[in-house]
């Protein structure tokens, strides 16, 4: 590790209405090193980095780049200083080519950009850093891993020396993560430096030289990664208390099959690819079946097929023995299926309606809350109050618009609605995505409670540790197929990782 300091942030403070996002935070990045910025959601890591790339201005404090005081007003400013960021949601235009995306908005671009020269330079960089990508392809044709490579190329093309990556391995398979590691190592060898924003401990251990922990806007600790003996210590620093790594669960006593899927195939219109191919599995009452795999391998299509939101080309969905293939969502709901959808904002709640209204969305048709045509408003109010209390939903009032709640409380609203009187089958898709540790614990505890009370739970998750902690059996999906189903005691990270890259296993 070299001694040159490339970036120094001194006493950075940033306010947002009602919250102190960064409280006198100091940060030092050395040349040729990877610094991991670790913290929960809301700890202030993204805010800090957004100031480094000119998306926000600090209220007080200074930033020094290569020893000189820097005023970073805009992303173009920071790029001129050699600092670039790859956001969690890629900044790419789907219907433009790789080459077009890479030069978009570049300073000094000619009126009619010489595409041949540009593509040649892209290819040269690709080889140098092992970032294979075809400059002529449209972004929407690329896989997520390839898109990430385009983002990296974009920064390298513009001469970035300092790269900031926001949760980079969230969208990668274990294999792709290793590839990323190689790419980063090549960049470091050329004198570049990197900052990883993350909340995953394994990312910290695998990639970084130094880890800086933020909590509630303050810098808690800065340690060299190789001095960390126990991951548990890291987790505790991040959260401020002892973190649970195991959960209490009842004995595994599965009852009859409640949810069954047979040879489910979904072909996409206008393409040869199948979103799902011959997927079959069963979930029994009192059992949690986890579905592992990087997002985009058919999980969304699978859960949509089961809940009636997507047309099935062939195969069957059986709910409590009844064939409900291609039945509308209302039938599926009436037959006892509760669904916690992948995208809580877009599918789980109606943001512009009140918390009370959102809580009532499952039951408003029933005698409990309405009669024939009219909704009984006072029944709805007491129903909402009860759920808010039982599930600990933090909201100013029951009339507050749901979109103003924090991510964790929105999820609690959805949980409350779906789990209250769950009729036996629960489908939960990425339920703890984006939640802090406390909310995540609540979600997992509730999943286990449902299972212990006899429900069949289908849990789709990107986090292998979550599945290993919560599920009884784990299936891995890759390119629309089930690669294998393992009992949780056999589901080591290696075994699962292998299946996630397409190596199939006979079913356990």
């Amino acid at each position: 590790m070299q001694d040159t300091v490339v970036v120094q942030m001194v006493n950075i403070t940033k306010h947002f209405p009602g919250v102190l996002a960064n409280d006198s935070v100091n940060l030092i990045l050395h040349k040729g090193e990877v610094l991991a910025l670790l913290g929960e959601n809301g700890a202030g890591k993204s805010t800090l980095m957004n100031m480094l790339v000119g998306l926000y201005r600090p209220d007080s404090g200074e930033i020094y780049v290569n020893g000189k005081l820097a005023e970073i007003h805009s992303p173009q400013n920071s790029m001129a200083l050699g600092i670039g960021m790859i956001h969690q949601e890629f900044m790419l235009v789907g219907n433009m080519t790789v080459a077009e995306n890479i030069v978009l908005g570049m300073k000094g671009l000619q009126l009619i950009p010489p595409l041949d020269e540009i593509k040649a330079k892209i290819r040269e960089l690709s080889t140098r850093y092992s970032l294979s990508v075809n400059p002529d392809k449209y972004i929407q044709e690329l896989s997520v891993g390839e898109q990430q490579r385009v983002e990296i190329l974009k920064l390298l093309y513009r001469g970035a020396q300092i790269l900031i990556l926001d949760e980079p391995t969230a969208v990668l398979t274990p294999g792709e993560s290793r590839d990323l590691n190689e790419i980063i190592k090549k960049m470091l060898a050329e004198g570049k430096s990197a900052i990883f924003i993350t909340h995953k401990m394994d990312e910290v251990m695998e990639f970084s030289h130094t880890v800086q922990v933020l909590r509630k806007g303050k810098c808690i600790n800065i340690v060299p990664t190789n001095t960390i003996k126990k991951i548990q210590d890291l987790a505790n620093m991040m959260v401020g208390r002892d973190v649970l790594f195991t959960l209490d669960r009842g004995p595994y006593h599965p009852t009859g099959t409640k949810l069954e899927v047979r040879n489910l195939t979904i072909k996409l219109p206008g393409s040869n690819r199948a979103a799902l191919e011959n997927v079959s599995f069963r979930v029994n009452g009192g059992e949690i079946l986890g579905i592992a795999g990087v997002a985009g391998n058919g999980q969304q299509e699978l859960t949509e097929a089961i809940t009636g939101l997507r047309r099935i080309t062939s195969g069957e969905v059986l709910i409590n023995g009844k064939n409900l293939t291609n039945h509308p969502p209302l039938d599926v709901i009436k037959n006892g299926v509760s669904h916690i959808p992948a995208d809580r904002g877009k599918m789980g709640i109606v943001g512009d309606m009140s918390v009370g209204d959102n809580l009532a969305m499952k039951k408003y048709r029933t005698r409990e809350l309405s009669n024939h045509l009219v909704i009984k408003k006072n029944k709805m109010r007491s129903f909402a109050d009860r759920l808010i209390k039982v599930f600990g939903i933090k909201t100013p009032t029951r009339e507050t618009c749901a979109k103003f709640l924090s991510g964790g409380n929105i999820q609690k609203t959805i949980l409350a609605r779906e789990m209250d009187n769950c009729k036996g089958i629960l489908i939960a898709v990425y339920p703890s995505r984006g939640l802090d540790v406390g909310a995540t614990e609540t979600v997992r505890q509730n999943l286990i409670k449902q299972r212990d009370s006899g429900s069949a739970v289908l849990l789709v998750s990107e986090e292998l540790e979550e599945l290993q902690m919560v599920a009884d059996k784990i299936a891995v999906m890759f390119e629309g197929q089930i690669m294998g189903i393992l009992d949780v005691k056999d589901a080591t990270t290696e075994a699962l990782g292998l299946m996630m890259t397409g190596v199939s296993r006979r079913q356990a």
Binding site: S74, M91, L92, V93, N95, L104, G105, L111, P269
Partner: protein, 323 residues
């Protein structure tokens, strides 16, 4: 009259009327490509028609007339841009308001600015000068296609403008920015492109072209002014934008087809042909065709994503702080 003469006449009328539609459609293509829907087209065109007419009536300068028409179109569309971009208003309602205001204003002025001898009404007044067709010797004598070379200067200019617009959109860095802004404004902003400014610029320029399109009606096609003389062409423009897949290079296909159908009525009358179809139905034809074409295009679009899809961010507002 033989069939060739009839087609030649049809082509000539189509070109004359299509010129007006083409300018406006081109403008709206750029506006919508940056993500702003301007339903005020009808009002902008009518206002352009009126202001162009009035200016030429009083100054006898065609150039000035065009300039004023473009300016008024630009200003009216600028208001729409201001409401939608800075004030985050609903783009559909704003466009309708602009149509109401623009049309109302045009009609009002049309009844106020005329000579006292005609009750201050502009309707029915004659222009001192208008855009005449200029025939290119030799070329204009070619059967049928000769009509392409016997058009007004406004149409000739389009022969150059359309390919240039295509190059601008797909080969220059400005076109790149335009496409990015309309497809993914967050990304464009992150890459340093001034999203709001881009939208303002192209909405205003789009309005200028629409105003020019309106002036083409009152100064070239039927050199006169009548209340509501655009008769719904502004709405057809909106459909034409969809029909051309938001691609300047394809705009001409739509205007030829639609211009052709609309001019069919004129041409049939000119040819003295008996009309089997009642004239009212013929006048509905453009709107009916628009409806059919729109429906067909939408259904086709849904299967392929590439060439015919609308700009993803069309109609939605954008701000850096939006989550």
């Amino acid at each position: 009259m033989n069939i060739f003469d009839f087609i030649t006449k049809l082509l000539a009328v189509t070109l004359a009327m299509g010129t007006s539609l083409t300018y406006a459609t081109l403008g709206e293509v750029f506006t919508e490509k940056t993500g702003i829907l301007n339903l005020g087209m009808e009002g902008v065109m009518l206002l352009g028609a009126l202001t162009g007419f009035v200016t030429v009536y009083f100054t006898s300068s065609l150039a000035l007339g065009l300039l004023v028409a473009m300016l008024c179109g630009a200003v009216l569309s600028f208001i729409h841009a201001f409401l939608c971009i800075t004030m985050r208003a609903n783009q559909v309602v704003s466009g309708l308001a602009i149509t109401m205001f623009g049309s109302g204003l045009a009609n009002y002025l049309g009844q106020r600015l005329g000579p006292a001898s005609n009750n201050f009404n502009m309707a029915g007044m004659n222009l001192p000068t208008k855009f005449n067709d200029i025939a290119i010797p030799g070329l204009s004598k070619i059967p049928v296609f000769g009509a392409l070379f016997d058009v007004s200067i406004l149409t000739y200019f389009l022969y150059i403008l359309l390919p240039l617009a295509w190059v601008f959109m797909y080969k220059t860095k400005f076109g790149l920015s335009v496409r990015a802004v309309g497809e993914n404004p967050h990304t464009a902003a992150a890459m340093g492109i001034p999203v709001s400014l881009t939208r303002y610029v192209y909405t205003t320029i789009g309005g200028a072209f629409a105003g020019l399109g309106g002036a083409c009606l009152s100064l070239a096609f039927t050199p006169s002014w009548n209340e509501n003389m655009t008769g719904g062409k502004g709405w057809i423009v909106i459909a034409l934008v969809i029909f051309s897949g938001w691609n300047p290079g394809k705009v001409v296909i739509g205007t030829l087809v639609f211009g052709g159908i609309t001019s069919l009525q004129f041409s049939l009358q000119a040819a003295g042909l008996k009309m089997f179809i009642p004239s009212q139905f013929l006048s509905i034809a453009p709107y009916f065709i628009t409806l059919i074409v729109l429906s067909a295009m939408t259904i086709i679009n849904q299967s392929k994503k590439g060439s015919f899809a609308s700009p993803a961010a069309l109609g939605s507002s954008f701000a850096i702080d939006d989550k």
